[in-house]
Structures are given as structure tokens and as C-alpha cells.
Amino acid sequence: MAEAVLRVFRGDANGGATADYRVPLVPGMVVLDAVHSVQAHQAPDLAVRWNCKAGKCGSCSAEVNGRPRLMCKTRMDSLPQGEPVTIYPMKSFPLIKDLVTDVSWNYEVNRKITPFTPRPGADWKMDQKDVDRVQEFRKCIECFLCQNVCHVLREHGKEAQFGGPRFFVRVAGLEMHPLDGANRIPQLKDQLGIGLCNITKCCTEVCPEEIHITDNAIIPLKERVVDQFYDPLTMLVRKIRGAT
């Protein structure tokens, strides 16, 4: 029977190293199946986070052959044959153990965002074409791969000032909701630091839901920030009125 070698990171906050495991290949096998096979037959304490194994829950994010992706949607036969498959945890989050990282920071950011606030007197009728735009953002399964690759977080560690692509997508979904009446633009500028994003589109490239994060969420939001805060005419009016 054909085999593959999985080269899996094993370790915790104190450090670690990769270990190699030989896994028999089954047709249609995905990387998560291979990791489960290691768990069931060779390393019962190998830590991996997963739920649905169907690309719907966004739990099994990892870096496979250096590429951040969902293990449940990465087929073994799509990877180079005859070479070890390397599997590392997401780099941008603190390691708990093996392939499991601490993603709790994301939940803290989420809590800062002003929730859906229906406009008074809304009649709850909406056109599908208005809804389509927002439904793209609501496809997000919170795998946090976009957060993982965003260099503002990955290289510069700006967690304190920056919300990250996942939460720009969430804010876009709220701001563009046909019946929402809140204004999250000041929050976007100050608390979520959208200005730090320089639209390199790394987030869009890794999104398993194929959300156009940069083009459809971040850029339109950046434009709204500019309109509200940096429009020369508005700035002039503000100066005259003495507002900050």
C-alpha cells in the first residue's frame, strides 16, 4: 500500500521539533485524515483541533508544506508525492501544543465591535442584491488563516492596535447590512487600526471561503474612513466648527 511521510511539529510553549510518521494512503485522503491516522495508531496524544472535517467549521487551520490552509480540505494527492508533508501550527498565534494554538485574542477583538443595530422603523424587507454583498462576508468560517498570514500581525505583532482581516470582514458585513444604523468607522480607524493594512492581499489568497477580503471588505472600508476623517472639505468644516 502506498505510504506518505508526515513531518509534524510536536511541542509546546517550551519548544519542540518535528517528528516523522509513516501513514498508509487511502484514496481521497485529506491531511486531517492522515493526522487522525497518526493519532489512532502511533501518537495518541498528538494535539490537533478539528470539528466537522467538511470545510464548514474552520477549526483545523495549519501550515501544510509552508502554506496556511485547512487540513480537511487539503488532499494528500494534491501535495508532491515522495516528499515528506510538513505540518506546522499557525505561526501567528501562541502555541499550546503540537498543532493547536491559542486563538483567544480573536474573540477579544470581536467583542470590541459594535453589534448589529437595526435602524428604527425598519420594515425588514431587503432586496437579494443588497443581501448578496453582505452574504459574501457572512460566509466566513473563522478559520483565522487570514489573521495568521497578515504581516501586520505575523511580522509586526500589532495585536494591540489592529483588528486584522477577519474583523474587517465582520465590520464590512455590519456596515453594509441594508438595515444597520450604527457607525463603526471611528472604531475602525482608532481601535481596529485599519490604516495599518497596506492591502498586500495575503489574506484574500488564503481564504478557504474565497471571500474577496481586500477588494470587497477592506478597500471599501478604508474609503469610508477617508470620507469621514480625511475628506478635505469635511476637515475644513470641522476646523471652522472647532470640532476634533
Binding site: 464548514k56 477549526s59 448589529f116
Partner: protein
């Protein structure tokens, strides 16, 4: 008892953060209760996220002739009249309000041309009734509830497993568990506890369920003295993926058939014409699952032992718009373009109609202060659940359980925790580390899944069920002697060793109940008793722990009031 044990006090403790748990928590918060939510996974990852096709509610946006009365009748007929009729009534009456509420909390459903929530056809529903978001309705629901709950301010204990309910003189007192990340223990003291832990599919080899569906809540309640009901009724969804082997069991939404998908055997015959010529592919799930299984068994299955499900006669853009995840799922995992050719599908273990026996209006179990809702509770669906009735169940009865739990907490002083119970719980959890040699939890899980798959599947016999019971006995003995390796830090082998106890309890409950029901009704099909037996349609099988053993007894279904009987007698 560990001296510095982490302890939290709540009015209402919710165990499980799927749709039912989150809706219960939101309602309890709205009543002013202090609420804690414990879940085995990260928030927003619960099994509800996998729900695809939609949620059933007689909104009458598409079919004006629909009403709660028709929804009630469809649900009772689908459940072969074994349902708790009061639950079926409340569910049909309240579901539309629960949907509107979700929308007011930010959910965005697909729309009709005049801007209302769009509804689609589904098996067993007389009218177009399922409110949906493409084929990712569960994600929309869980995200909406999650954001609502966070905004209202519940405390969430993520990746935390409860292993025992604590009681105080026969009343609920709280729960004991451990953090999956660190293995540290945690105790909750609570006036009310809501169980919303979902289903049991992981006891079968081929299932659409995630790893979490190990029947924890049912087992916790059973061990604490509550009753389980209708455990013989396990729903096998007719359409799971069958090829390649790595994806076997992954759900193919009923929405494929709702949108016009056609089932054929290898000879190209539209075989549903034989089994249910009126409703065809949109017959109830029990019927369609049995039909596919029969076609395969009689040699008319596909190459990989399934049936063909075809939606490629619809325009490609329409398929991609209405069934986007199915399109991607087959493209990426099976190299099949569903806009061009058929899918191969076969039955997969999907849903538990049975569960904790509760009161219809409140979700109150037989233990004061212990409530249950959603898949963990029994009653609404009877012998077979209609597609779409699960998501509405979560909302209607999640809310009712949360409300009743908060009311109960208002009248109840903070209970006392019993250190003896906590000591026992600690020892039980740590035992697998202390054995020098012992059984491998993964091997026991594999053997259990194989046993349930082959002996307690779609078609059952007395002989198979007795063999299954004997196997389960052996597995219980092996499970009592598990040894795990490694430390308490995020250790999946250890986690599984804890879940196996629950998987074995619910497996035994299913098998015992299936053995006792000597008829075929809904999802329970006995080859040796192929007919419906009217006398058995008047009682539920109920299980409880008596002198340490699982004991089965029958409870008669109360007489239905005349007004509901009248609805059942009406045609359309």
C-alpha cells in the same frame, strides 16, 4: 477534593454551545440570570455550524396557504405519531417568531422577489417552508446567536469538557469538568443546568456528525438519574458522500433534492417511483434512506455502493448560487462537478430523535433544575425528524429551556457542592493515567463504531441487536481499563477516553430500545417485524438507571386534545 479547585457560580449553566445552548443562554440572560456557557470546542464551531438546508417555519412567504396547523400535521406524520404532540404544536406555532427574531439580531436569509425571507421545499413538508441561506444556514444561525450572546454578556468556557453533573439532595447543583487545553479541573455551582450537547452520531462508523457528537449530555443526565426516551430512533440521512473513502459520510444536503435533484440507480431508473410515487425524492428521510439502502443491497447500487443524485439538469449558475458548499465539496474532495454530472450518495448516521425525556413547555427533566433542549432532548420528532425541523427545534425549545431555567433559578438558593461527588469525578477522570498497562481508547472507539454500523444500522433484527448488546458489554469492560499516554496538556487520547463512557451508554440505550420495539416505525426498521403495530404507536420506550443497570420501561403517550386531533384528520 482539591483544595484550590477552580469554581464558578451561576444562576444558569448551559452545557453545549450549539443553536439550542446559545438560544437558551440568550433567553436566560434576558431574564436577568447570570449565565455560563461551557463547550467542548471553540465558540461558533459547534455541530449546528454544519446544518445546511434551512430551518422550517410556517412564515407563508412563498406558499400563502401554509399555517402552523399544516406544519404541526407534517411533523406528526413524519414522526409516525410518536411525537410529543404538545411539543409539535409549540414548535409549529412559535418557529416563525424565532426566525424573525434571528433576523432582528442580524441574520441575513435569502430573499423572495418582494424582499421577504425566501423558503424552499424539503422532504415531508407540504409547503415551501425552509428559510435558508444557500446551503450554509447553520453557520448563519450560529454566528448570529454567538454575537447576540457575547453582546448580552454570557461567560464562555471554551474547550472545556463536563464529565459529571453534581446533585444536592436529588436536585441539580452544578457540574464538574476539565479544561481540554491544560487538563486542569473546574467546577460549576449552578441553580439550573441546561443540557444542549447535541447528538450521538460518533458511535457509528459512517456519520455526518463531528467528533463532538458523543452523547455526552444524555449520558450525564442518565448518570445523574434522568430518563432517556425514544432512543431506538436514529436518523440515517439518505444522502452522505460515499466516495472517496476519506470523505465517506460527509453530508450532502437535502436541499439538493429540495432544489429538484433526482435519485437514480446504476440502471438509470428513478427508483423513488417504486417506494413513494407521490413524494418521490422529497419523501421523508427514513423512506429515502431505506430506498437507497435497498437498491444497493439488491445489486442496483453505484460502483461505490450508493445511488446517483443528479442536479445537473439545472443551470450551472443556479446550482452554484443555491448549493455553493455542495459544489465546492464535490469539486475539491471528490473531483466531481455537480453542475455537469451526478453525485454518488448513500445513507449516513445523522441525527438522534431520542434523548433526555423532558416536559414539553419547559424542557424540565425528571431532576429538578436540570433542563434539556435540542437534539439532546427527546419528543418533538417522534420516530423520524423532518429536514429543517431541527434548526427550528433548537430555537423554539432552546428559548423555552432558557426561560424555564432562569425562572427556576429565581426561586432556588445556591446549592451546596458535595466534595464526595467531586472526589469521585476527579478519580474517574485521572484513572486512565494511573494504569501501567491497559486498553487503547482509539481501538475501543473503532470497535464500537464497527459494531453499531453493522449491527444497529438502518435495518435491524433481534439476533443482530442481541449480538450488539454482547459486544457493548465487552467494550464496557475494556473501557473500564483504558490507559492513556502523555500528559494532561491538550491530550486527545485522554479526551477520547472520557467521551467513550458516554458513547457506550447511548449505544447501549439505542440497542436496548431497538430490541424492545418489535415493529417498524419511522427510522426504526426491523426486518423481523416489518409492519407498523398500532398498539406500539401509543407508547414511548424510556430508560433509566435502576440499581446500577440500564432498565427499560414503557410510558403511554397522553391522549391528544380534540382540537389537535381535528388538525390531524384534515387533509391539507
Amino acid at each position: 477534593m482539591t483544595a484550590n479547585l477552580e469554581t464558578h457560580d451561576y444562576d444558569v449553566l448551559v452545557i453545549g454551545a450549539g443553536g439550542a445552548g446559545l438560544r437558551a443562554a440568550i433567553e436566560a440572560l434576558a431574564q436577568g440570570a447570570r449565565v455560563g456557557v461551557v463547550c467542548k470546542s471553540l465558540l461558533g464551531k459547534a455541530h449546528t455550524v454544519m446544518a445546511e438546508g434551512g430551518l422550517a417555519a410556517a412564515m407563508c412567504n412563498v406558499d400563502k396557504a401554509d399555517s402552523w396547523r399544516t406544519h404541526f400535521r407534517d411533523t406528526m406524520r413524519g414522526g409516525k405519531f410518536l411525537n410529543n404532540w404538545r411539543m409539535a404544536q409549540l414548535h409549529a406555532q412559535e418557529a416563525p417568531d424565532r426566525v424573525r427574531e434571528l433576523e432582528q439580531w442580524g441574520a441575513l436569509f435569502d430573499r423572495t422577489s418582494d424582499g421577504e425571507i425566501l423558503q424552499r421545499a424539503f422532504g415531508g413538508h407540504t409547503f415551501k417552508r425552509l428559510c435558508h441561506v444557500g446551503d450554509r444556514t447553520g453557520l448563519e444561525m450560529i454566528r448570529t446567536l454567538q454575537d447576540r450572546g457575547v453582546q448580552m454578556g454570557f461567560d464562555v468556557f471554551m474547550e472545556c469538557t463536563v464529565t459529571r453533573l453534581l446533585t444536592d439532595g436529588g436536585k441539580i447543583a452544578g457540574a464538574f469538568g476539565y479544561w481540554r487545553e491544560s487538563g486542569r479541573f473546574v467546577t460549576f455551582r449552578a441553580k439550573s443546568v441546561v443540557i444542549s450537547t447535541g447528538g450521538i452520531g460518533k458511535s457509528w462508523k459512517i456519520t455526518s456528525n463531528s467528533w463532538e457528537c458523543t452523547g455526552d449530555g444524555m449520558a450525564l443526565a442518565y448518570e445523574a438519574g434522568a430518563q432517556l426516551q425514544d432512543m431506538e430512533f436514529v436518523q440515517f440521512h439518505p444522502t452522505g458522500m460515499v466516495w472517496p473513502p476519506g470523505v465517506q459520510g460527509i453530508l450532502v444536503t437535502e436541499a439538493v433534492r429540495g432544489e429538484g435533484g433526482i435519485l437514480r440507480n446504476k440502471n438509470g431508473e428513478r427508483f423513488m417511483e417504486k417506494y413513494d410515487p407521490q413524494r418521490m425524492e422529497l419523501s421523508t428521510r427514513d423512506v429515502v434512506a431505506r430506498s437507497i439502502y435497498t437498491e444497493v443491497r439488491e445489486g442496483r447500487g453505484t460502483e461505490h455502493g450508493g445511488a446517483f443524485l443528479d442536479i445537473s439538469h439545472k443551470p450551472a449558475e443556479y446550482v452554484k448560487k443555491k448549493l455553493p458548499s455542495m459544489y465546492h465539496q464535490f469539486k475539491e474532495l471528490a473531483d466531481v462537478d455537480i453542475t455537469k454530472g451526478p453525485m454518488e450518495v448513500g445513507p449516513t448516521c445523522h441525527y438522534m430523535m431520542g434523548g433526555i425525556r423532558v416536559e414539553a413547555d419547559t424542557g424540565q427533566s425528571s431532576i429538578p433544575g436540570l433542563f434539556a433542549a435540542g437534539e439532546a432532548a427527546a419528543g418533538l420528532h417522534g420516530a423520524n425528524r423532518l429536514g429543517g425541523n431541527s434548526l427550528s427545534d433548537l430555537l423554539v425549545f432552546g428559548r423555552r429551556a432558557g426561560l424555564a431555567a432562569a425562572e427556576h433559578a429565581k426561586k432556588t438558593p445556591l446549592p451546596a457542592l458535595d466534595s464526595v461527588q467531586i472526589d469521585e469525578a476527579e478519580q474517574q477522570v485521572l484513572a486512565p493515567f494511573e494504569r501501567a498497562t491497559g486498553e487503547d481508547p482509539y481501538a475501543i472507539q473503532r470497535d464500537l463504531q464497527q459494531t453499531m454500523q453493522t449491527l444497529v444500522g438502518i435495518f435491524r433484527t433481534d439476533e443482530d441487536l442481541r449480538r450488539a448488546l454482547a459486544e457493548i458489554e465487552k467494550l464496557k469492560a475494556r473501557a473500564a481499563n483504558i490507559r492513556v499516554e502523555g500528559s494532561r496538556l491538550y491530550n486527545p487520547g485522554w479526551h477520547l477516553s472520557q467521551e467513550l463512557g458516554a458513547m457506550l451508554i447511548v449505544s447501549e440505550a439505542v440497542t436496548l430500545s431497538a430490541l424492545a420495539r418489535r415493529e417498524s416505525r419511522g427510522a426504526h426498521s426491523r426486518i423481523d417485524f416489518p409492519k407498523l403495530d398500532d398498539s406500539l404507536g401509543k407508547k414511548n420506550n424510556v430508560l433509566a438507571k435502576r440499581a446500577g443497570a440500564m432498565t427499560l420501561f414503557e410510558i403511554a403517550i397522553p391522549e391528544m386534545p380534540a382540537d389537535l386531533k381535528q388538525i390531524l384528520a384534515e387533509e391539507k
